[in-house]
Amino acid sequence: MIELVNFYLIPGIVLGCIYALGAIGLSLVFGILRFAHFAHGDLLTLGAYFSLVAATALAVPPLWALPVAIVATAAAALLIDRLFYRPLRARHSVATVIASFGVALMIRSVIQLIWGPQDRVFETGIRHPLVIGDFRLAERHIYIVAAAATIIALLHLFLTRTRAGKAMRAMSDEPSLARVSGINTERVVAWTWVLAAALLAAGGLFLGIDTQVKPQMGFNLILPMFAAAILGGIGKPYGAIAGGLVIGLAEELATVPIGGMPLVPPSYKSAVAFVILVAMLLWRPTGLFRGRVF
C-alpha cells in the first residue's frame, strides 16, 4: 500500500497534472482552431528551456522564472501561428496538421542548435521529502501539484468570468455564430495561443523540475496529451484536466506488479496512453464529457 502510494499514485498524479496542462491547451486549440496541433509537445519543451534560461539568468528559484517563460513561450507561439498556421487557415485542416508536424521538428532542431542535445537540470539542490507516517512526498511534487491546481483555478476564472474567456468558449462552441455576434475571431485565436503557451510553459517547467530538461521531453508527451484531450472531450478544458489525470495515473498504475507481474511491462508504458486513445476514438469519440467531434 505504501509503495503503491509513494511510487505509483503520487508520480501518477504529478504526471497527470503535467499532462493536464498540455491537454487543456491542446483541447482549446483543437476546438477553436480546429486542427490537431502536433507541435504542442515541442512548445512544452520550449517552455521548459525558457524557464531554465530565465531561472539561471535571474538567479531565482525555478517557479519565479515562470512568468518570464510564459511571456517568451506565448511570443513564440504567436509568431509560429502568424508565420506558419495563419496562411493555411482557409484550407482543410490536413495542411495545418502537416505544417505543425514540420514546426515540431523545427522547434526541436532550434533547441538542439542553441542548447545542444544533452540533459540539463534545474538547480534545486537536495531537498528532504515531506514525511507523513510512511508516506513520502517529495517537495517538488507538492509544489508541482499545488502550482498546477492554482493555474487551473485561474484558468477557470478566466474562462468563466472574463469577456475574453467567454468569447473563447463561444468560438469553440460555434465559430460562425461567434463571428455573427461580432466577436473578432483572429483576436480569440491569439488569446488561445497565449493561453495554451502559458499552460505549456508551466507544464514544461514542472516536467523539467520533476525529471530533466532535454530536447525530446515534450515530444515524448504528445500521445498522452492527445489521449487526455480526446478522453476529456475536444473543446472541453475541464475534461482535459480529468483526462490528464486519468492518463497519468493509468500509465503509472499499469506498471504496478500484481502478484509479481505488472499488467503492462514498463518498457511499454507509453503504449498505455495510446491504447486508451484508440479505445476512446472507437468507442466514444466525443470523450467522457461529450466534447466536439468533427
Partner: protein
C-alpha cells in the same frame, strides 16, 4: 578513370538507390493519400515492419533471436509486403472510419507501438542490438558492378510499382477511390462500399511501404530501431510526396529523388565542416527541411507535378488531391 570521378559516380549511384527506395515508399503513400485521402502518419511503422520481416527471414543465424531461416531475398521481400499488409489490415479495420485528424493521431500511435515492439521484443528483433549481415542481392559481384546491379534492381521495382499503380489509377478501382476521397457521402449514396475500398487502399499502400522497407534493409545490411526514428522517416516521406505532387505517381518518384538529393547534398556539404560544427549542421538541416515544407505548403501545395486531372462528366470540375 580518375578516383574523383569514380567517387562522384558511386556517390550518385548511392543517391539514386536510396532515392529510389524512398520513391517506392512514396508511391505507397500516394495510394493512401493521393488516391484515397487517408492521412497516414505512421509510415515509419510499416517501413520498419517490412525491413524487419525481410531481415529476420534472410539474415544469418544468431542465438539471441529467431533466425537461421536463410530464405532467399525474393521471399523476404514478399513476406515483408505481406506482413505489412496484415498489420495494415488489422489496424485499418479498427481505425479507418476515423476522420482525418483523428486518423493521423491514431496512425502516429500505431507507429509508436510498432517501434516499441521492435525495441523490446528482442527474441524476434534482437532489440537495440539490431540485425546485421543482412544479405544484399548481387553482393557477390565485384565492385562497382554490385552497386550498379542493385541500383538496377531498385529501379526495376520502382518501375514495376509505378506501372501497376498507374493501371490501378486509370481503372475503375482508381476512379472509385478518388470519388470517395472527394465526396464520401455521395459515393456511399451511389452504393459504393467505402469502408472496404478505403481499407484496400490502406493495405495496398502499406504493403508497398513494407516492400520499400525490405529493400532498404537489404541495402544497408544492418538495421536497428534507431534507423526507423518515426518522425524523420514519416516526415521526410510526406515532404517528398507533397513536393513531388500528391495524387501523381510521377510526382511520387520525382519528389523523393529531388528531396533526397538536396538532403544528401546538404549532408555532403556539412561533412566538410570541422567536427564541432557537424552536429550543429545536422540540426540546421532538419530545421531547413521543416522550413522548406512550410514554404511548399504555402506557395506550392500541389507540388511539382500536380495530379493529372480527370474531367468528371457533367460538371467538368477538377477534383485533385493536395493539402
Amino acid at each position: 578513370m580518375s578516383p574523383e570521378l569514380y567517387g562522384v559516380i558511386m556517390y550518385a549511384v548511392g543517391l539514386l538507390t536510396l532515392g529510389g527506395i524512398y520513391a517506392i515508399v512514396s508511391l505507397g503513400l500516394n495510394v493512401q493519400w493521393g488516391y484515397a485521402g487517408l492521412f497516414n502518419l505512421g509510415i515509419a511503422g510499416f517501413f520498419a515492419i517490412g525491413a524487419y520481416a525481410s531481415a529476420i527471414l534472410t539474415a544469418p543465424e544468431v542465438s539471441s533471436r529467431i533466425s537461421g531461416l536463410h530464405l532467399p531475398i525474393v521471399a523476404g521481400l514478399a513476406m515483408a509486403a505481406i506482413a505489412s499488409g496484415i498489420v495494415a489490415y488489422a489496424i485499418g479495420r479498427l481505425t479507418l472510419k476515423l476522420q482525418s485528424d483523428y486518423l493521423a493521431i491514431a496512425t502516429i500511435g500505431v507507429g509508436e507501438i510498432l517501434r516499441l515492439i521492435l525495441k523490446n521484443e528482442a527474441w524476434l528483433t534482437n532489440g537495440a542490438l539490431g540485425i546485421s549481415a543482412i544479405p544484399r542481392p548481387f553482393e557477390g559481384l565485384p565492385p562497382p558492378w554490385d552497386q550498379f546491379a542493385f541500383l538496377a534492381f531498385v529501379a526495376f521495382l520502382v518501375v514495376l510499382v509505378f506501372v501497376l499503380l498507374e493501371r490501378a489509377r486509370l481503372a475503375p478501382w482508381g476512379r472509385v477511390m478518388r470519388a470517395i476521397r472527394d465526396n464520401e457521402t455521395a459515393a456511399r449514396a451511389a452504393g459504393k462500399d467505402t469502408t472496404r475500398l478505403r481499407l484496400e487502399s490502406f493495405v495496398v499502400g502499406s504493403m508497398i511501404m513494407g516492400l520499400g522497407g525490405a529493400v532498404y534493409a537489404h541495402y544497408v545490411k544492418f538495421i536497428s530501431p534507431e534507423a526507423f526514428e518515426p518522425m524523420m522517416t514519416t516526415f521526410i516521406v510526406w515532404v517528398m510526396l507533397i513536393a513531388g505532387g500528391s495524387g501523381n505517381n510521377r510526382g511520387a518518384i520525382l519528389g523523393p529523388l529531388l528531396v533526397w538529393t538536396i538532403w544528401s547534398a546538404t549532408e555532403f556539404a556539412t561533412l566538410r565542416l570541422p567536427p564541432e560544427w557537424a552536429t550543429q549542421a545536422a540540426y540546421l538541416r532538419i530545421f531547413l527541411i521543416g522550413l522548406a515544407l512550410q514554404i511548399i505548403l504555402q506557395k506550392a501545395p500541389r507540388g511539382l507535378l500536380p495530379e493529372p486531372t480527370i474531367r468528371s462528366g457533367a460538371t467538368g470540375k477538377q477534383n485533385t488531391a493536395g493539402p
